[in-house]
Amino acid sequence: MDLGQFILMRHELLLTIAALAILVAEIFTSEKNKSGIITFALGLFALVTVVGFIPGETGNLFGGSFQSSQLTTFMKNILNLAVLIVFLQAEGWLRKPENADKISEYFILTLATLIGMNFMVSAGDFLIFYIGLETATIPIAGLAAFDKMKSKSAEAGIKLILSSALSSGILLFGLSMLYGATGTIYFADMAGLISKDAMTLLGFIFFVSGMGFKISLVPFHFWTADVYEGAPINVTSYLSVVSKGAAAFIFTIILFTVFKNIVELWQPMIYTLAVFTMTLANLFALRQNNIKRFLAFSSIAQAGFILLGIIGFGELGLTSVVYFVLVYVFTNLGAFGVVAAVHNASGVETISGYNGLYKTNPMLSLLMTLSLFSLAGIPPVAGFFGKFFLFTAAASKGYYLLVLIAVLNATISLYYYLLVIKAMFIAKNEEPVAWFRSTLAMRISLIMCVAGVFIIGFASGIFEYIRSISQLFLN
């Protein structure tokens, strides 16, 4: 085998090298200079992200176990970009004295999960897929329990690992059934062998449940709110954007390729999940006062919207999902960035704590407003186009009622997003969060988010590009 072919795995290899480099750097830095690792890791990862955008070859490795296409490369680049923003936002938090001895752990664990996600997205068989999935999950439990001395954080870690053990078990059970029914684990071979016999279908349902856990679809979502609340903010943002995005990518890919023969069976299933996910998540989001829990439910609702793109099976569906996740990265990380900045400066984590924020921190408030508007899908920011294309994808398959339900849910979501905006701009507060200056890295990350929210919305070339690579992928 030609070793040159390993260039197809360039994203994975680069990330592995980066993780190892940080580990080595950890060994060679003295106790006093630990925070130097932050700068090193940020620079290194920025480089990795940029290098990832260099166009390269596509093809298969290991007899089809590993597939690299323009679409998967683009997905990996989205994930890298998101992680870069998360890292930039974590910088101020990692510099705090209590985290001094855990800096490299944060980077290595995060990169380890990212490697897992990259493998997962590129998987060509269920084995690589499963290994990627587990690699992407287990270190996150460690991250969730990062503030291990805080009981909430420890609780988040244990809840995550236990629930994901259950979901992985069921998922793996489902995969073994699929193997039993078809006799193969390769996506390409299995696609032709999928039939409507009981074992295949049960295996498929278990697979959907397991993925539903990762994307946090109702009723597999219960862990989300507790873990999001307990975990440190920069871990939460990672979970809600990167982890969810990667899972949504591979879920869409597998449904569109492996299970395309039984599309008429999974469409009603996705339909039901979408309705429940959007509606219940919105109902829960209405009552939250903790901003992290609030964003947790908001992200569950957004996952429900993603299902509309999946149900629009086909090129447009795939395009709309990838486009939406791209938009969602910048939008949600914009909101999380503000939450992290406010938390780092003042410890405030409740929505009522945001009362009067506009008076003291106008720029941050405007940013938050922009992000929330984008989440709610208000034109002309990118969030509107993201939702618009998802809805178009569903409508193109005739799911008008579902689109109507989604629109109603978008309206409800606008209500609770506006609650936060109202708190910042209108509500009176004797002691609002005092004025503070965010760190340089945080400001860079927020500028990236704002730029993303505008540029992706206005530059139609991006959508066209995703469409062209989706077309290539599906044919």
Binding site: K159, L162, S163, L166, S167, I170, K196, L201, L202, I205, F206, V208, S209, G212, F213, V218, P219, F220, F222, W223, A225, D226, L265, P268, M269, T272, L280, L283, F284, L286, R287, I412, Y415, S460, G461, E464
Partner: protein, 639 residues
Amino acid sequence: MAGYTYTVFILIIPLVVFLITGLLGMKWKPIVSGIIGTIGLGISFTLSIITAITYFWGGSHGAEGFHAIIPFELTWLKFTETLIIKMGILLDPISVMMLVVVTTISFMVHIYSLGYMKGEVGFARFYSFLSLFTFSMLGLVIAPNIFQMYIFWELVGVSSFLLIGFYYTKPSAVAASKKAFIVTRFADLGFLIGILILSFITGTFDFAKLTEPGTAIFASAASMSFMGISAMTWAMTLIFIGGAGKSAMFPFHIWLPDAMEGPTPVSALIHAATMVVAGVFLVARMFTVIHFQAPDAQEIIAYVGGFTSLFAAIIAITQYDIKRVLAFSTLSQLGYMMLSLGVSGYGGEEGLGFMASMFHLFTHAMFKALLFLGAGSIIHAVHSNYMYDMGGLRKYMPITHITFLIACLTIAGVPPLSGFFSKDEILVAAYNHNKLLFAVEYIVAGLTAFYMFRLYFSVFWGKDRHYHHTPHESPLTMSIPLMFLAVASIFAGFLPFHHLVTSDKLGFVTEMHYAIAIPSVLIGLFGIAMAWILYKKESGVPAKMAKSWGILYTATYNKFYFDEIYLFVTKKIIFNYISRPIAWFDRHIIDGFMVGIGMTTERISYRIKGMQSGQLQHYAFMFVAGTLALTLSMLYFLM
């Protein structure tokens, strides 16, 4: 063709300036915003002049006439194969001419405002709005498709709204800004419907396809009609309504006089030279479509234009607020331009009206901006808008006096100033096609000369008034634009428009029509003479005359009560008999329904909150139950 890509910067610079001064304007001294804006516009202005010179004299002229060049275009939204929304730049004679007009006037206004707006609260805000307006207006004139034009059309409306209401603490300014916005918005509805009908028939937004000679895209329209009027007439009339709103044609004229509440430089830029000609520009843009597909609509345009020009000229005679006199004069001149398009034919000598209209648009922009800036200079000196607070100012403000006089002579059509040439062409075009409208325009020419010199003599001659302080000449920043525009007003008439801007882009040879020109000059001189007799020295004659006209004078002074009629119709009839029942329905039925939904949502949300118990075993149970439910639903679907 690729040589024109730099034209993108003509647009981008004002946009960038708007963003910079809008976002960061509070941080530095106000004057910095002014300087950034002026320099930015200076660059745009230079680029526009370069574009115009290379376009008109740089070999863009082929056997087919001037080429329409699209140096830049990108697909913005692609909904289907035919429904594509593009953004781009279209260079053809009228758009290049408009680039020059807009950037010239805007640049002059930028310089002028450095002096005029000095020390005003919101100086930085003023400059950022000016840049926004300039960007929008430029986007409108270079639009290669009607959809982009519509977007910028609305943007122009918004920036006009912002600038009229610049003194937002003054109730009258707020009312005027609302009025302008609502009236034009109302007309824009017609425009939008017109666009929809047009694109439904033709399947395209592109001007290039719409105006292609001998195109077949209108074939499907032949069989369509509504209420006995053909679909194309409907479409074009509706689009013209949009144009009439922006250009303040009768009966949408009511917003323009009130718009004078804005700062005077704004009036010069938006409400005299650029935005208000957008309607004329729109009609010119769609000219071949209107002329060949909807001749009835063209007839309407001619009569609306003619009527507006007469109507406004009569009102202008009786006004005392100098800015309002100028506003009505603008209306009247816009009427001229519309009329000229309305009577024009297509191609060669036939298309004289089209060329005359564009010519007049150009010269009018120069001299009317000059008049407004001059008026601003006067107001700046005496702190009043009213003619009876002014008199004898020629001694104190020599530059303003001379430039204002030049502008007055230009608008009165005295040769060889530019207004004479453009007006003469319009009169010839009207004479060739419609004798009635031609006669009306003769009358208007006399009235114009009369009311302009009434204004001129009352302000600069006559006795000194009791001034707060001795009036003084304005600073250099204000007088330089005046002098520049005065020079432009004098010499713009010598531009060979008949070679450059014509209906078929080919150019033709034209000559003086002495039989029409000489009487028109005499009529103008007669108007000036009348004003000289009545207003050069103060006398009781005008007052007596006003009295003898009695009710007619009062009606004219009150603008024929059009504002009152509109108020009556909206407040008494529409509000009472349409809005109130709808409001009741909205408040009790719709709101009740919505509140009901909201309450139910809240209640359900409260009920189910126990589901999120925090207990892991509970979550695991729900997980398994969910899987089971999926299985059951799958079974159901299989059966």
